[in-house]
Structures are given as C-alpha cells and as structure tokens.
Symmetry: C2
DNA sequence: TTGTAACATATGAATAATGTAATATATGAG
DNA sequence: CTCATATATTACATTATTCATATGTTACAA
C-alpha cells in the first residue's frame, strides 16, 4: 500500500470515525431517513446533524434527495456498513479492552 | 448502538485513520517488526514512527516487546486487519470515487 | 406576498491531531 | 564509566475537528 492509497483509506475511515456519524450510518442501514427523523432519534442539535450529514456527503459516504421540504439521506458507500459490522461484531470478543 | 458504544468504535477507527498508521499496520500483518525496520520501509522520520507506534499501543491496537536495544511491535487488536481488508478489498469496486 | 417548516451554512471558540526538532532514555560493548 | 545504537519523549507551532449560535435558504401553503 503506497502513501496515496493509505491516504485515501484514511480519509474514508476519518469520514466515519465519529460517534454521531456512526450512529447516523447505523440508522441509515435500515433505509433512507430524512434529517428531521435523524434529529429526533439521536439527541443532537439539528445543526450538528446537518453538519455531519454534509461532511459525509462531501466524502461520498452518503447521498441525498429532496422531497418537498424534506431531504432524505441514504448510504452511498456501502463499504462503511461492512466496516461497522467488522467493529461491532468484534465488540463481543473485544481485544481493544483487554485481550488476555 | 448507544453513544458510549459509538464512541468506543469511533476511537478504534481514529486510532487507525492515518496514512502512516495504516502503512505500519500493513507491515505488521506479516509479523512483528522492530522500529528501525519500519522506519526503513516507510519514508518517515524515526520520531514520527515512534509517536504513531506509541499512539497505537496506547489504544490497544499494537503491543511491543523489547529485545536488546530493539523494540518489536505486533498487532494486538486483530480486528484492525479485518478493517483494512474491508477497505482495501473494496478499492477495486470503489464507491467513494464515483458510483454511477 | 407572507408565513412556516425543514434544512443548510457561516462564524468563531475550544479542543485535538500532526509534524519538527531537540532532548532523553535504555541497552549493551568495551 | 564512556560511547554508540535504538527508541521514546517533550515542547512547540500549525492545522484540523468539533460544537454552538445565529442566520440563510428552500419549498410550499394560504
């Protein structure tokens, strides 16, 4: 893996490496949701949710469509779901806490 | 996924989300390496490599053992390898660049 | 047009991450 | 002990991330 490639992978990881963004991604696993619904389900101000959604859209993790006054978001880069599952799955036999 | 869990997952992701750290992890997939070898293989100053190694060790991603004057590092949290594979594998059918 | 709901953006402050350069520590040789 | 090699740590400047507040925009109804 050369540096450029590593940089790209790091960018994807950074796009996801935030608790609110992770929770948003988890919500969107079940299909598209509009901003208002996301705000209701997470306990986070609307502006922050919009900021994080915009950030992930910029980084090609999410995509959006407008319907009336609502904007619906879906996952564009499906690999982030695999990423989540890699980590969530392992949290049972978690080796980040204490491995022996 | 509650916030605390999301925070924990985000911490693991952040521990990995850096080009040099990713390259180090890739090197260590093939078994343990001492700091000097890592420095030689990557084009990065020794202090930076030590800093990143220390950071990953703090976050339980790596572990180390000393042998004489050398310190050998290995991967402690094997899940980061799976993470890497999730992302590297997908870079063929990459949806982060342009999906249609 | 005005009003309102839903969402986005701008700004700034606080905090965290990064890289550089210098210095410190540890081990072993002699 | 002194020296050399290997690695770690510190201090600092720079840049990036995050959050909150306030303001702007869009779509639509009346």
């Amino acid at each position: 893996m050369n540096y450029e490639m590593a940089q790209h992978v790091a960018d994807v990881l950074k796009a996801v490496a935030h608790p609110v963004r992770l929770q948003i991604i988890e919500l969107l696993e079940n299909g598209e949701q509009c901003v208002g619904d996301i705000v209701k389900k997470l306990d986070v101000p609307q502006a922050v949710v919009s900021q994080q959604l915009g950030l992930m859209k910029d980084k090609q993790v999410l995509q959006s469509r407008r319907q009336g006054t609502s904007v619906f978001y879906t996952i564009k880069n499906e690999n982030v779901i695999k990423l989540l599952h890699c980590l969530c799955h392992h949290c049972d036999n978690d080796s980040t806490q204490n491995s022996e």
